[in-house]
Amino acid sequence: MTELKANTALPAPQDAAAQTPAPQLDPDAVRARRKRKAVRIVYLVLIYFVMSFLALAMVLPFYWSLITSLRPDSEIYALPITWFPSSFTIEHYTYVFETIPFWNMLANSLITTLVGVFTNLFFGSLAAYAFSKIRFTGHKIIFNIMLLSMMVPGVITLIPTFYVLLHFPFAGGNDILGNGGIGFYDNLGAVILPGCIGVYGIFFMRQFFASLPDDLAESARLDGANDFTIFFRIYLPLVIPGLLTLGIFTFQSGWNNFMWPNIVLQSPQNQLLTMAFKFFKTTLSTDYGPLMAISILMSIPIVIIFILMQKYFIRGVALGGIKD
């Protein structure tokens, strides 16, 4: 098709060359240009082929989990494997809803995640603003200690954090010294509190505040505005792209949080969606129909959010994610 186009286009320049002898239109140049065009087309086809192949590899697991979740067991465990289901059923979904407190888990996941997003964005940018614009005595040391702590693997603090939450004053029947009750054990607070203000968020937002000039605040300060007003009215609106990006990051890590909730949340109605798979995958058996249904149900909210926020996401990373 493209080859044909190149051929039919050929006579015209030659005619033109006959009429007005312009140097760039001699047959050699035309042939060279045609060759270059062909090379470019081959190159393009190759690129799209590679991209499509990779995209297929990326999407295949989604497709496979979707159709597995929608076909009956007799078809899931049948040989030879069929790539398209011949009968549809929602029995795995209804089974999930009957077996586990799904709506509780969904609510728990949403609560822990959304609270985490809010606290991380709000308190994180408050601290980030102070670190980059107020420059109080000792801001460098405190910030560097926080940065260093990012290097520490989370497993180091597992047991002590558990202890701290267990003995949190006034929580879960505890007295002021943190004794007598179970603290935040088996309580969403145990998931929300440790992650509510992350160092990464402070670090991330500081990049954005640092890129804004200091003197934005001066005139407002002369007008008698206090630092809270300056922060909310002047600086915060300017870092909204950063907030959106950090919001997506935080939502994602909250939504995917597994290890720590799995340690501190005991009763099913207090657990998160990420722990739901444990009901269908035991040491004795693995029930793939419901498992795939859960995977699909878990992926829907985050995929929707990503589709809605995609634009801000890439821009935010470009603006603030990688300067050092």
Binding site: V50, V59, P61, L126, T137, S149, P153, S295, I307
Partner: protein, 308 residues
């Protein structure tokens, strides 16, 4: 109301110097973050150091001082070093694979070509989904009897793989899953870096007749090196802490072939092995921290050599 405010301002000006005022406001702004940081990072860290010198349960109840015994035990524990060896093997496979593939993806989608945005979305999709959900899907895909992967192998006339069920293939299979899920995020960061690059340099190089490979190795790569260092460090730190996938896919098996340090430490702290192992688990975690730091320092050295 207004009067009261102005009075309070005056009082403040009289009572506090400007510097003191700034300090007060600054600390007020960071107070919530500082509080949470102290309670859930700093104090637990100190407690963990303390714990590592004791034989204790996870409730800090019956503690017995053992000095450096826990650390000595770590260095003699063959299971621990198996897990370290596993994670080193995994890192050596997963990190280069992740970075090279995400770089290629970024180069592919960093253009205005038609449909590129859709591809970018598809490449990023696995990174969006939860590790646990993705791992259960791959567990199913890698099923040796009914799995899709072996079916694809059969399509090309290849014998079925053992995937997660054999000690020789399990770690590679886990790597496949994590790379599949991890490349999208790094691709986005690479794309961001590529879009920040000066276009004139490329135009000049093209005018000078440089081919795409020359352009990549002579221009793109040096310019992108700081981003590369950032991604390398982050991916490494993440790789050393592999846990979720192991929990879902293999539980550390078969025959400890996919046992990772974090999984082992979790087992000693809260899992089936837990008991009076809390202090020992803390010691194991600190040795892991040390190893991560050493690897990071090596990378930083390398970065200094390359980037100056």
């Amino acid at each position: 109301m207004q009067e009261a405010q102005s009075v309070s301002v005056k009082k403040k000006r009289k009572g506090l110097t400007l510097k003191a005022q700034r300090n007060l406001i600054g600390y007020l702004f960071v107070l919530p973050a500082l509080l949470i940081f102290c309670i859930f990072v700093l104090i637990p860290l100190i407690m963990s150091v303390y714990l590592s010198f004791f034989e204790s349960d996870m409730f800090f109840l019956s503690m017995e001082y053992v000095g450096f015994d826990n650390f000595a035990q770590v260095f003699q524990d063959s299971l621990y070093w198996t897990s370290i060896l596993n994670i080193l093997c995994y890192t050596l496979m997963a990190v280069p694979m992740n970075i090279i593939l995400s770089m290629i993806l970024a180069l592919l989608v960093n253009s205005d070509r038609r449909g590129v945005k859709a591809y970018r979305f598809l490449f990023y999709l696995p990174s969006v989904t939860s590790t646990v959900a993705a791992s259960t899907v791959w567990l199913w895909m890698m099923n040796t009897s009914y799995g899709l992967l072996n079916d694809i192998f059969a399509l090309f006339g290849l014998p079925g793989g053992t995937w997660l069920t054999h000690s020789s293939t399990a770690l590679v299979s886990v790597t496949l899953v994590t790379v599949w899920q991890g490349v999208g995020a790094n691709m986005i960061i690479f794309v961001a870096a590529l879009q920040n690059m000066p276009t004139q340099v490329y135009e000049a190089a093209k005018l000078d007749g440089a081919g795409p490979l020359t352009i990549f190795f002579r221009i793109t790569f040096p310019l992108i090196a700081p981003t590369m260092y950032f991604i390398l460090t982050m991916t490494l730190i993440g790789a050393f802490q592999l846990y979720d996938q192991i929990y879902v896919l293999t539980s550390g098996g078969p025959a400890n072939a996919t046992l990772t340090p974090v999984y082992l430490i979790w087992q000693n702290s809260f899992g089936t092995n837990a008991g009076r192992q809390a202090g020992y688990a803390a010691a194991q975690a600190f040795v892991l921290f040390l190893i991560i730091m050493i690897v990071n320092l090596l990378i930083r050295r390398l970065d200094k050599k390359v980037n100056g």
